[in-house]
Symmetry: C2
Subunit: 215 residues, 2 copies
């Protein structure tokens, strides 16, 4: 290995975890380097020497977030046997994650940087890309349901259904942020799943794209 030079005194993993907690609570722009340095237990200069920049630190934080808090919903999505139970369990896993007593009550991916100063456009697009991936993952799971035979929805409607449940996931974050508890989120999920049979059985979704005169 040959670790020459002065050894690091801080543990990168725990430092990253502390940075995650702070970014999660305050968002990207709401978290300052001084805040981060204090929480991580190192000087801000050490953050730059190891993580490169504030933006780069945030990207690594999001990677950690994806493998921790993002894992239960993702696992539900491809461990459940049918498309229906996969979506349903994914929603419930999401609700579980955003109502944990020890973390902020919302999804960091969704609320850490939806808007902000012009100079942080790259960060916002980075998160937007991850959210679009989320939509694609949901859609892929629905497509798998079709090939598995447990879903009979027309291929043309998969896009709409995937976007619909992605929208619900994202809306749940606002609800939890504003104080909705786990039971209230569950009631939303129940309502959202009430559309499933109509969406997947009836082939009447040819008219999904309705032309609508401007108001």
């Amino acid at each position: 290995m040959a670790t020459r030079g002065r050894p690091r005194t801080f543990d990168p993993d725990t430092a990253l975890r502390r940075a995650l907690d702070l970014f999660w609570e305050r968002g990207y722009e709401g978290t300052s380097l001084n805040d981060l340095a204090e929480a991580m237990g190192i000087a801000s200069a050490s953050i730059y020497s190891y993580f490169g920049s504030k933006e780069n630190l945030f990207r690594k934080v999001m990677a950690l977030y994806g493998t921790t808090s993002g894992e239960p919903p993702r696992r539900a999505l491809h461990k459940q046997p049918t498309a229906r139970t996969a979506i349903h369990d994914m929603l419930r896993a999401t609700a579980d994650e955003i109502t944990r007593p020890d973390t902020p009550h919302y999804c960091m991916l969704i609320l850490a940087a939806p808007t902000g100063a012009v100079e942080n456009h790259a960060v916002r697009e980075f998160l937007a890309d991850l959210r679009r991936d989320m939509f694609a993952t949901v859609k892929d799971r629905l497509a798998r349901g079709v090939t598995d035979g447990d879903l009979t929805a027309p291929a043309a409607g998969l896009d709409a259904i995937a976007r619909y449940y992605t929208t619900v996931v994202q809306g749940l974050s606002i609800q939890a942020r504003d104080g909705a508890d786990r039971a209230e989120l569950e009631s939303v999920i129940t309502c959202a799943m009430a559309a499933w049979d109509t969406l997947t059985s009836a082939p009447s979704h040819r008219a999904m794209i309705s032309s609508r005169s401007g108001r």
Copy 2:
């Protein structure tokens, strides 16, 4: 009237409108006083003398926002004759508003300040209160449908249904922010409305609040 003293050289309404545009694009914390002063065409001291503070300016901006962009969805909600058409049209009016070519593609009420620095907690709660009002307005409209006779859902389920459609509204903002166009939002709305019959006809929503073991 007796307007003593030096008359104002700027029009408060247009200045407020300019502030609205900037806050809308960059969010609360992402907009600086220098940015605002430049866009409003007045010095930052004039902002303080007339609007009080950055936070107070933002509150007045949100009031303007509510009476402009917030009006179409609100009007749809209580102009439509039935609860169903009211909800449906409210969703479409929302989609119209957040895909207008001349404004940012999201609802300012939802995304201007979901997270941020600790010192701006009051602003976030101010917006959260407005969002909770939004939920209450939807719920009231459903209750009106019950008294009008066009809605047969049990009173216990009104909370869940109102929260569900509020969640969809809020999710739509993220979708539009991430690039979904008007037609894609319409497909989400169609999916969301597909749950209506199931939610309002079947009285099986006694089990809406399901006890769920932690995972």
